[in-house]
Each structure stands twice: as structure tokens, then as C-alpha cells.
């Protein structure tokens, strides 16, 4: 047991993500990482060597769209699951106005957040729209099955859109992963499930108030 886990045992803990949510999330992660590695190989010559991880260029080209189908399916389940908690509210605009205070550890000045704060909601929206556009443009680009099914102008636009949205998604993934590392306790929440009351007080105080009121 690490020192943090010992502390967690004696304190109140709250389930941040249940087992089903965690499994769902990590299935999306596995797909997204594999798609990023194979996709970067097709996007820029500097990364073509990544196709070796998939057994060569032909194999990477063949498997990439199938992983995309699995991601689209698993993300749809996750999107439905987290949709309601990610609806944008007026408070989120105010929270976002304090983003400078957030990144500079001046949390006393930041408005209280619900289960997801405004930045997390933005990550959700970018993922939501990029998965939809990547899936649809990916179908148009799927040479083996749909190579002749779409007009050439649409195929060209799909190529541009697929690459552009993938770049936006990768940048968002970098921000998302960094935020989880930076805000200590987040990785544990998504790998094991629980967070402490103090963690919720610090990051999602409005949600903590609702939880405490609900537990009475």
C-alpha cells in the first residue's frame, strides 16, 4: 500500500467512476492510442515506421478502420453515459473565465464545479464531434469496401477532414492526459474508482455538496 492509499482508507471516499465506466473508458483509450499510432503513420512520413508496430504498412492500413469501428461503438456508449453531466451551463462560462486561476493553482478564486468542470466538458465536446466526423469521413476513406462508393470530391474532402479532426483529437488527448497527471488523484479515480472527500472539495465542490446532501 502506498501512503496515499492508506490515507484513503481512513477517509471518506466517493466513487468517482464505477467499474463499468472505467472499463468503457479504457476500451476507448486502447482504441484511441492504436488509432493514433497507425493514423500518424499515414499522416506524416516521419511516423511511417509506426506501421511496424502493426505488422507493416498493408496490415496497418487494413486494421486501422476496424479499430475505428470499435472506438465509435464504445465511445457512443460512453457518450450516452456522460452526456447529461456534460451539458453546458451558465456557470461553466464563468468557470472558464477563471482558467488562468485554474492553471496557476489559485483555486480559491475559481467558481465551484459540478461533476465535470467546463474544461472537461470542452474535452467531451471535442471528442464527441471528432469521433462522429472521423467515423463518417473514415467510412468514405475505407478503400477496400467503399473505395468506389463516393464521388471523388467527397473523398478528397474526407481526407482533409479526417486528418484535421484527428490532429485536433490528438491535441485534446494530450491536454486530457496531462490534466489527469497534473491533478493528482484523477488517474486513481479512472483506474481504481474512488476519490477522497478532499479531492472533490478541491475540484468539484458543487458536486460534493450535492453528494453529501444526497447521502443524508
Amino acid at each position: 500500500m502506498t501512503s496515499f492509499e492508506k490515507v484513503a482508507v481512513v477517509r471518506d471516499t466517493y466513487t468517482r467512476y464505477n467499474a463499468s465506466e472505467r472499463a468503457n473508458h479504457w476500451l476507448v483509450v486502447v482504441c484511441a492510442i492504436l488509432l493514433m499510432l497507425s493514423g500518424l503513420a499515414f499522416f506524416h512520413p516521419a511516423f511511417f515506421w509506426l506501421t511496424a508496430l502493426f505488422g507493416g504498412g498493408q496490415a496497418a492500413r487494413a486494421i486501422h478502420p476496424w479499430i475505428g469501428v470499435v472506438l465509435a461503438g464504445s465511445f457512443t456508449v460512453m457518450g450516452v453515459r456522460f452526456f447529461r453531466q456534460n451539458v453546458w451551463t451558465r456557470d461553466d462560462g464563468e468557470w472558464l473565465g477563471h482558467i488562468g486561476d485554474v492553471i496557476n493553482h489559485r483555486e480559491d478564486k475559481v467558481p465551484e464545479a459540478g461533476r465535470f468542470n467546463a474544461a472537461q466538458k470542452l474535452v467531451f465536446y471535442v471528442m464527441f464531434w471528432s469521433v462522429i466526423t472521423l467515423f463518417l469521413s473514415g467510412l468514405v476513406l475505407w478503400q477496400h469496401y467503399f473505395g468506389d462508393a463516393f464521388p471523388i470530391g467527397l473523398q478528397r474532402f474526407a481526407g482533409l477532414l479526417h486528418a484535421g479532426m484527428a490532429a485536433a483529437m490528438i491535441i485534446t488527448m494530450i491536454v486530457h492526459i496531462y490534466a489527469a497527471i497534473w491533478n493528482v488523484g484523477s488517474v486513481r479515480a479512472m483506474t481504481r474508482g474512488p476519490v477522497t472527500g478532499g479531492w472533490l472539495w478541491k475540484h468539484h465542490r458543487k458536486y460534493l455538496r450535492e453528494e453529501v446532501a444526497g447521502r443524508k
Binding site: F48, I103, Q155, G159, I174
Partner: protein
């Protein structure tokens, strides 16, 4: 044929290194004089024979085009167009196939290193063992030429008989043409030859006769003499002013460095934020506040 010295490579797909450029190579071109073509398809047969291609037997689509389209095993197809002008029927027969652009959209779009090469003599060649079958060359091509095989998932098209040219022979189609409608030589001499043909056509009433060597793709190494050079579309949809699509140019141009910079900046921003601000850790005070909140509510 990429390693033959007589075929130095000028451009290689998905490769950033500077290609060898010391030796001066002669630019070659094939000139197809549409006004001399009789539609005998000897060029198609010669292409199949030399390149060992046997396309599947297809169906008659109601035209003389046979097969009715280019395919992985049909690198050239005669396209027959009926055109009426001055109360006369003109049978415009165009030998379709790769144009071997100076600025090849297929090569620009290709993500597989060395799957598409452009030799110093101007020939654009597909190297099938490096091809991954993504079909991006199809999107890059302004002439709708590359075809992906469903059996081996690799792209095929006319090679301009690069193997013959490498040893000083003319392409099989040019060799077999019975009317001299297809001729092969240096690009310069082919342009000269075309001027003679255009003069002759103009003297016979084709005032708009001209050479098709579209500059939107930097010129081509397969050129046409057309009786109606002002309307290339008459010849089974030959594009008027072909160029690489802006969508492909952006996708394969500015988007690449911009995305790389964006990803790099995101990684560096994370690194430097962490080393200057450090991790955001929950304090004992936070835990105490949470306990108080719960205690107050419970009370």
C-alpha cells in the same frame, strides 16, 4: 526499376530527403495525336502483352470502349466519343491512361515511402511492393487514373514502360501503333513534332487545334494533339485545366506542419507547466473541509 542508374529518382513519395540531382537526365514524353488515331486498340494489346496483364472479361457497356474503364490490369483504354460539328460526325478517340504529370498528385498524396516515384526523365511509376493500398493516390490524381486491385490491395497504372525506356526502347503502345499516332522521344522533340501536326490540322480547317500539355500540373509527359484543344472535355471528359485539388494540397501541405507544431506545443506546454507549477495536490485542509461539510449536513 528504381535502382537502375539510367532512371535516377527525382521525387519519392512520403520522403523528405533531397534526391540525387547531379546528373542531367533527358525528359521524355509520349505524344498521342488524336487526329491520327483509328481506334484499332493495338496499343491496348501491346500494353497487355508487354506488361503481362490479362484483365477479367467484362461486359459490353454499349460503347466501343473495351474494357469500359481503366483497371488494375487495364492500364490504357481507348475512349470513343461521338461529336457532331458543321453537320459532320467526328469520332474523337482518346487513348486514356496516366499522364505522367510533372507535379504528380498521386505522389503528393501517397503516405507510403517509395510507393510512388518520379524518375528524373519525368516518368511517374508505382512501386507495388511498397504500396499499402490506402487509395490516397486516387484522391490525389486529377485525371482519375490509379486503380486499386481488390485481390492484392495495391495500386496500378501505366508505367510508360519505364523498364523499356530504361534500356532505350520506346513504350510498347508507341511501338505497336500502326498509324504513328503515338510517338515517343524527348519532351522537347515531341513538342516540336506536335507543332508540325497542329499546323497541318489548322490548314485543314481545325482552327483550334493545339497541344494538350496542361500547366496546372506542371506539364505532362504524355501529351495530346487535339483538333479541338479549346474544348478538351469533348474527348471523353479530358479535364480543361487540371490541377491538384485544393483539399488534397491543404491535407498534404500546410496541415502536416501545423498539426505537428500543435501536438508539439501541447506536449511542451504540459511539460513546462508541470516543472514550473508542479502537481495539483489535495491538502489536509481540503480533507478537513470535506469532513466538516459532511458533519454539518449530517447534524
Amino acid at each position: 526499376m528504381a535502382t537502375l542508374q539510367s532512371l535516377d529518382i527525382r521525387n519519392r513519395s512520403a520522403s523528405t530527403a533531397t534526391p540525387p540531382g547531379v546528373r542531367q537526365d533527358l525528359e521524355v514524353a509520349k505524344l498521342i495525336d488524336v487526329s491520327k488515331c483509328i481506334g484499332c486498340k493495338a496499343c491496348q494489346s501491346a500494353c497487355m502483352a508487354w506488361n503481362d496483364l490479362r484483365p477479367d472479361v467484362g461486359i459490353n457497356a454499349g460503347t466501343y470502349d473495351n474494357p469500359d474503364n481503366l483497371g488494375p490490369a487495364a492500364w490504357t483504354v481507348m475512349r470513343f466519343a461521338e461529336h457532331e460539328e458543321n453537320n459532320r460526325l467526328e469520332w474523337l478517340i482518346r487513348k486514356d491512361g496516366c499522364m505522367h504529370c510533372s507535379d504528380p498528385g498521386c505522389l503528393k498524396a501517397c503516405p507510403a515511402p517509395g510507393a510512388i516515384v518520379q524518375y528524373a526523365n519525368g516518368i511517374v511509376d508505382f512501386v507495388q511492393e511498397n504500396c499499402i493500398g490506402c487509395g490516397y493516390c486516387v484522391k490525389g490524381c486529377p485525371f482519375n487514373v490509379p486503380r486499386i486491385s481488390k485481390t492484392d490491395n495495391r495500386a496500378y497504372k501505366c508505367t510508360l514502360c519505364s523498364d523499356r525506356v530504361a534500356v532505350g526502347q520506346s513504350p510498347a503502345c508507341a511501338k505497336s501503333c500502326p498509324t504513328g499516332a503515338i510517338v515517343f522521344g524527348s519532351k522537347e522533340s515531341m513538342a516540336d513534332h506536335a507543332q508540325g501536326r497542329i499546323k497541318d490540322l489548322k490548314s485543314r480547317g481545325y482552327q483550334n487545334a493545339g497541344l494538350y500539355d496542361p500547366q496546372g500540373v506542371g506539364g505532362t509527359h504524355v501529351m495530346y494533339v487535339l483538333h479541338h484543344a479549346d474544348r478538351p472535355g469533348l474527348y471523353s471528359g479530358l479535364p480543361n485545366d487540371p490541377s491538384i485539388s485544393p483539399a488534397v494540397a491543404l491535407w498534404k501541405g500546410a496541415l502536416k506542419p501545423l498539426s505537428m507544431i500543435g501536438m508539439g506545443m501541447a506536449l511542451l506546454a504540459g511539460l513546462f507547466h508541470f516543472v514550473t507549477r508542479g502537481p495539483n495536490e489535495v491538502t489536509e485542509e481540503d480533507e478537513e473541509n470535506a469532513r466538516k461539510l459532511k458533519g454539518r449536513d449530517a447534524a
